[in-house]
């Protein structure tokens, strides 16, 4: 009763303020968590160490690295480059493989998912084959690709594709089967052809399924590219990891993983944007502050 100063847009102002407050809180908590992780990592690799053998530390930095060491490794990579050349070049190579593999995998996954989701016979016949392919160890596929496609970008992209494809495929497939039958019926009555049905009903309805799979699958694309490089390559972050492992350089391994982490975060932010853009029609059910 006290809050009756009915400004026309006090709702918007209050919303914006709450949003700002919340954002700040989230950023602070994220940062605090990062500080906690890095701090305790650094601590435990420094505490209790005596003598020349680092094994006496609570956590042995020989195996698990040390944030400070990781940082200086990163600095040295930036300043002096890596064994295979400048750092940005490695990142560019890996990123190219990842993005290509991601794009191809997602597109194939959606096409197959929608096709098999809409056609029962096709899915019954091909289903077992797809499941079998999904159970093939990627590391073995990696060597097969390296043989069949060579050591250039193709084999890494192929590996990324096979990791991405299945995640997207199974989600798109299920998303198609979850489409509300009433909506399908309505669209058909309104005159939708099979392809219009896909475009106007099935894809929008399966969109949240497909988008959900993108979160996992970008990570997998990155993993595919890295593993491919790890198995044989001239350049790339995977090779940096392999080299660091080969030289007992745990800090190098974790520094390379840190770079991957940054890439993953950037990609995730982009996917989130895409998501918000594509499904802005949705009442955000469970996260609506009113319903929580």
């Amino acid at each position: 009763m006290a809050q009756t100063n009915t400004v026309a847009d006090d709702l918007d102002v209050a919303r914006a303020r709450a949003y700002q407050r919340r954002r700040r809180l989230v950023l602070i908590l994220r940062f605090a968590l990062a500080v906690f992780i890095v701090g305790s990592w650094e601590m435990t690799t420094r505490v209790g160490c005596h003598g020349p053998d680092s094994a006496t530390c609570v956590v042995d930095p020989f195996f698990f690295g040390q944030p400070s060491g990781i940082w200086s490794q990163l600095v040295s990579w930036v300043q002096k480059g890596t064994a295979q050349g400048p750092l940005w070049e490695q990142i560019a190579v890996t990123l190219e493989e990842t993005v290509l593999g991601f794009a191809i995998g997602v597109i194939l996954g959606i096409i197959f998912g929608v096709a098999l989701g809409r056609n029962r016979l096709l899915s019954d016949v091909l289903g077992p084959y797809i499941n079998v392919l999904n159970a093939m160890p990627r590391i073995v596929l990696g060597s097969i690709f390296a043989i069949a496609l060579g050591l250039d970008i193709q084999s890494k992209v192929a590996l990324a594709v096979v990791l991405v494809f299945f995640v997207v495929f199974f989600n798109a497939f299920q998303g198609v089967r979850e489409v509300d039958r009433d909506l399908l019926a309505n669209a058909r009555i309104l005159g939708a052809s099979q392809s219009q049905l896909s475009r106007h009903v099935i894809l929008p309805s399966a969109l949240s399924w497909i988008l959900a799979s993108l979160h996992t699958s970008f990570g997998f694309a990155l993993v595919g590219a890295i593993v491919g490089e790890y198995l044989g390559a001239r350049k790339g972050i995977g090779l940096m990891i392999a080299t660091a492992q080969g030289t007992f350089n745990a800090n190098g391994v974790f520094a390379a993983m840190f770079i991957l982490a940054v890439l993953a975060i950037i990609a995730e932010a982009l996917i989130m944007r895409l998501e918000n853009f594509l499904i802005k029609w949705r009442p955000n059910a469970i996260n609506n502050p009113a319903t929580m």
Partner: protein
């Protein structure tokens, strides 16, 4: 009515039985031996107790569900799948949640090949007709129940279908809006000469709108009776119900209908006692 003689019936159901698999695995008969003929250009209302198979009948005519036994013809052709000449306002509105009101309404023309601009102009017109002007950009979840229902109406009517199936289209509307919509519908019907099958639980509405009222029985639905409504057209919905002939027809049908409803209700009461 003239068209009817020339072309034969628009919709023809012959000995149609529809069974579903019930949860216990046995077959459940929703419709039994249903015969129904709707002439071209005829406005046919269907009434019956809840759960008697009215919606199922519409689904069969539309081609969305196949009959278990019997034949269904639309314009003389057996129904095999969904035809383009049919419009169907579902009982539970099935508007597309990812499309705005405008896009929802414009969908029919666009699916049928109209270009976006034309479709939008047409859609805006229909949105206004159902009283939703100003809400073009809203998404369905931002609308009230009655508003959603009107979007569904506009979405179907914009296609001007030759066969129009309507499943309780006005039940979520207040009396006044309903009357406005009913008049819009009659106007549209008069201008396009569509054959309408109109399901409602409001007998007044049925008589006010239709040329013929079909009463479906409870339990496995079948036709209990067919009543010709010989009120003159054009009718004004708000006034027609005060005519003596209207009241006569009403009482005649009402007797039939009430019996059926009681049968259906008593039956279920009995079931629980046993």
């Amino acid at each position: 009515m003239r068209e009817a003689d020339a072309k034969g019936p628009a919709i023809e159901l012959r000995g149609v039985t529809k069974r579903f698999v019930s949860p216990s695995g046995k077959s459940f008969t929703a419709l039994r031996d249903l015969d129904l003929t709707v002439a071209a250009g005829e406005f046919c209302a269907v009434v019956g107790p809840t759960g008697c198979g009215k919606s199922t009948t519409l689904a069969l005519i539309s081609g969305l569900e196949p009959p278990s036994v019997g034949t269904i013809r639309v314009f003389g052709e057996p129904v095999r799948s969904v035809g383009r000449s049919v419009g169907y306002v579902f009982q539970r509105d099935a508007v597309f949640p990812w499309k705005s009101v405008l896009d929802n309404v414009a969908m029919g023309p666009r699916l049928r090949g109209a270009d976006t601009e034309k479709a939008n102009i047409q859609a805006r017109e229909w949105i206004a007709r159902v009283g939703l002007a100003g809400f073009e950009l809203y998404y369905p979840h931002q609308l009230s129940g009655g508003m959603r229902k009107r979007v569904a109406l506009a979405q179907t009517l914009i296609n001007q279908p030759r066969i129009l199936l309507m499943d309780e289209p006005f039940s979520a509307l207040d009396v006044q809006t309903r009357a406005l919509m009913e008049n819009e519908l009659l106007e549209l019907w008069a201008s396009t000469g569509a054959s309408v099958v109109f399901v409602t639980h409001d007998l007044e509405e049925a008589i006010g709108l239709a040329d013929r009222v079909v009463v479906i029985t409870a339990g496995p639905g079948t036709v209990k009776g067919t009543y010709r409504v010989d009120l003159p057209r054009p009718r004004n919905i708000a006034e027609v119900r005060f005519q003596p002939r209207f009241i006569e027809i009403y009482e005649e049908i009402w007797k039939d209908l009430r019996d059926e409803v009681l049968v259906s209700y008593e039956r279920s009461k009995h079931l629980v006692a046993s």
